[in-house]
C-alpha cells in the first residue's frame, strides 16, 4: 500500500470510527489534565509551604540594645547546635519588606504599611531545624532555652502553625493523589474501552486485508495514525486548557488561603509540555497497534 493509500485508509477509518476516536481524544485530554494538574499542584503546594513557613521553626526577637557583635555571636552559637539546619539574622528592613510583600496578596490590606518605618521592627533570628519525627519537641525545647537568654526579648515557636499547615498540605496532597489515581483509572478505562469498541471492526478489516495480501505493518498503520492523532489532539487541548485555567485557579486558591503567591512558574516547563506531546501520541500508536489483531494464516 502506498503512502497515498495509507492516508486515504486512515482518513476513512477516522470517519468511520469518529465517535470512538473522539472518546479516545477526550480520554487523552483528561489524562493530560490529570498529569498537568498533578505536576503543577505539587509544585504549588511546595511553593506555599516555602512561602508560609519559610522552613523556619523558631523565631527569636532580639533586644534593641543588643550589639551587632553579640547578635552575630548568638547566630554562631545557634548554628553549632546539633539538629539546627540554618540560622539567619533578619534585620528590621527585611522584616518590613516581608510584611509588605505578604500584604500585597490581601486585597483588603490598607495603605497603612507605607507609613511604617523599619525601626518599628526588632531584629530577629530565624532558626530552621533539620526535619525529623520529633521536630515539634525539639523546636519547643529550643524555644525554652532561647527565652532564658538575656539578649532575647521574645520567642515565637512557629512549629505548631507550620506543623498544622504541613499536616493540612499532606492531607490535601493525599486527597489529591487519590483524586489523581481515580481520575487516571477512569480516563484510562475510557480510553481502553474506546479503543476496544473499534477492535472487532479492525479485526475484521485486518482479516480482509490479510487475505488481500497486505503486510501486518500496513494493516495496523491507519489505526496507529488515528490513535496517535487522538493522543496528540487530546494532549494539546489539555495544555491549552491548563495554560488558560491554571493561573486563574492558582491565584484564586492563593487568595482564598490568604498567602503570598508561590515563587514558582505558573505553568509547565517546555520540556514537560514536550514530553506530554510525545508520550501521548506514542501511547496512542501502541494502543492502535495492540487493538488491531492481525492473523498470520487466516481461517477464512
Amino acid at each position: 500500500m502506498t503512502l497515498a493509500w495509507i492516508i486515504r485508509r486512515a482518513r476513512r477509518q477516522t470517519t468511520a470510527t469518529r465517535r470512538a476516536l473522539l472518546a479516545a481524544a477526550g480520554s487523552f485530554l483528561v489524562l493530560g489534565l490529570v498529569g498537568g494538574v498533578t505536576i503543577l499542584g505539587l509544585r504549588a503546594t511546595r511553593g506555599w509551604m516555602n512561602t508560609v513557613g519559610q522552613g523556619v521553626h523558631v523565631i527569636a526577637f532580639l533586644r534593641e540594645d543588643l550589639e551587632p557583635d553579640q547578635a552575630a555571636q548568638l547566630v554562631e552559637l545557634l548554628q553549632r547546635r546539633p539538629g539546627v539546619a540554618r540560622v539567619r539574622l533578619i534585620d528590621p528592613a527585611e522584616a518590613l519588606e516581608r510584611l509588605r510583600t505578604a500584604a500585597r496578596t490581601v486585597p483588603t490590606a490598607g495603605s497603612w504599611l507605607t507609613d511604617l518605618e523599619p525601626g518599628y521592627f526588632p531584629r530577629s533570628v530565624e532558626v530552621s531545624l533539620t526535619p525529623s519525627a520529633d521536630l515539634s519537641q525539639r523546636a519547643a525545647e529550643l524555644s525554652r532555652r532561647l527565652q532564658g537568654l538575656p539578649s532575647v526579648a521574645g520567642v515565637d515557636a512557629m512549629t505548631e502553625g507550620v506543623a498544622r499547615l504541613a499536616a493540612w498540605v499532606r492531607f490535601g496532597q493525599r486527597l489529591g493523589w487519590a483524586v489523581v489515581v481515580a481520575a487516571s483509572i477512569a480516563a484510562f478505562s475510557l480510553l481502553v474501552s474506546a479503543v476496544l469498541r473499534g477492535r472487532e471492526a479492525r479485526r475484521r478489516q485486518a482479516q480482509v486485508l490479510v487475505i488481500l495480501g497486505e503486510t501486518a505493518g500496513n494493516i495496523r498503520l491507519p489505526a496507529n495514525i488515528a490513535l496517535a492523532a487522538a493522543g496528540l489532539t487530546g494532549t494539546l487541548a489539555a495544555l491549552v486548557v491548563l495554560r488558560l485555567a491554571w493561573p486563574m485557579l492558582l491565584t484564586a486558591v492563593e487568595r482564598a488561603l490568604g498567602i503570598a503567591p508561590a515563587p514558582v512558574g505558573h505553568f509547565l516547563g517546555l520540556w514537560e509540555a514536550a514530553a506530554g506531546l510525545l508520550v501521548a501520541p506514542l501511547l496512542g500508536w501502541v494502543l492502535g497497534y495492540l487493538s488491531t489483531p492481525v492473523p498470520g494464516w487466516v481461517d477464512a
Binding site: M1, T2, W5, R8, L212, G213, E214, T215, V298
Partner: protein, 262 residues
C-alpha cells in the same frame, strides 16, 4: 502458475485433504467439483495461501509458499484474487472501496484503481451498488462484490470458492463469463463448486473439471502441471510479486519430451 504437490490438510484434527496434487497454468480455468465436506474450501484456501498445508508443497510462481516465512506471505497473497466460501468484506466500507482495496494492496494509483474497480463491478454485478455500504447488501450481492474484488486487476491467480452459491441463472452465466474473462487475460483460474450444473457450465466455457471426494481427487485428468526448477538463492518476496514471470510446463509435454529424448 500454481502447483499443489501431495498436499494434506487437517481440519479440527480430521483430514480435509489427503495427498492432493493439482496444477493450473496461466490462461487455464479449472473447476473443482465435489459435495459438501469434500475438502473444496480447504483446497482453495491452501491454494490461495491463506491456510498452511500440513504436508506437501504449494508452488506459486516458482516458490513453495508452504515453506515461506509468515512475513513473506503477503507478497504472495496480493497476486491471488481469492473469494472465500464466506465473502469477507469490510461492512462499513462502500462496495467500490472494498473492491479497490485489492488494488490498493498492490500499490496501484488511486485513480486508476477506482476506474478498474468500477469496470469490474459493472462486469460482475451492478455498477449502481458502488456507493452502497457492504453491510447493506444481501449475502448474494456480497458474494458478487467479493468476486469482483477477486477478479479486479486481474491478478495472475484467481481462486474462487462457490462463486455461484445461491445465484440465479442470469448471475451464474455472468459469473462464468467473468471467469472466462479472467482466463482470457492470462490468469490461472481455480474455481470450486458443489453444484454439478455450474461445473458443467464452466466446462462448456472451456474449463477443465476436477472431482474431489473425501479430500482426494478422483478420476484425475492425465494432464498435470509442474513448476520449472527453482532458484533457491533468489529473493523470494520480490520475485513472487512478479508472478507473471512464472512458467509452468505441462506434465504431459514433459513426459512427451522425456519419451522423445529416451
Amino acid at each position: 502458475m500454481i502447483w499443489l504437490e501431495g498436499v494434506s490438510y487437517l481440519r479440527s484434527g480430521s483430514p480435509a485433504l489427503g495427498d492432493v496434487t493439482l496444477g493450473v497454468s496461466r490462461g487455464e480455468l479449472v473447476v473443482v467439483q465435489g459435495s459438501t465436506g469434500s475438502g473444496k474450501s480447504s483446497l482453495l484456501a491452501v491454494a490461495a495461501g491463506v491456510r498452511a498445508p500440513d504436508s506437501g508443497a504449494v508452488w506459486i510462481a516458482d516458490h513453495n509458499i508452504a515453506g515461506l516465512q509468515a512475513s513473506s506471505l503477503p507478497y504472495v497473497r496480493r497476486n491471488v484474487g481469492y473469494l472465500s466460501s464466506e465473502p469477507l468484506l469490510i461492512p462499513d466500507e462502500t462496495v467500490l472501496e472494498n473492491i479497490m482495496l485489492a488494488l490498493a494492496v498492490r500499490g496501484q494509483p488511486i485513480d486508476s484503481a477506482e476506474a478498474d474497480a468500477r469496470e469490474t463491478l459493472a462486469m460482475v454485478a451492478d455498477s449502481a451498488w458502488e456507493n452502497r455500504q457492504a453491510r447493506s447488501l444481501s449475502s448474494g450481492q456480497q458474494r458478487l462484490v467479493a468476486l469482483a474484488r477477486a477478479l479486479v486487476g486481474p491478478p495472475p491467480l484467481v481462486v474462487v470458492d462457490e462463486p455461484a452459491s445461491g445465484m440465479g441463472a442470469d448471475e451464474r452465466e455472468g459469473i462464468v463469463r467473468a471467469l472466462v474473462w479472467a482466463r482470457d487475460r492470462g490468469c490461472a483460474v481455480l474455481c470450486a463448486t458443489s453444484d454439478p450444473s455450474f461445473a458443467q457450465m464452466v466446462v462448456e466455457a472451456g474449463g477443465r473439471r476436477v472431482d474431489l471426494e473425501g479430500g482426494r481427487i478422483v478420476g484425475a485428468p492425465a494432464i498435470g502441471l509442474v513448476p520449472r526448477p527453482v532458484d533457491f538463492t533468489s529473493d523470494s518476496a520480490s520475485q513472487v510479486q512478479n508472478a507473471e514471470s512464472a512458467e509452468v510446463i505441462r506434465l504431459s509435454e514433459r513426459r512427451s519430451s522425456g519419451e522423445e529424448s529416451s
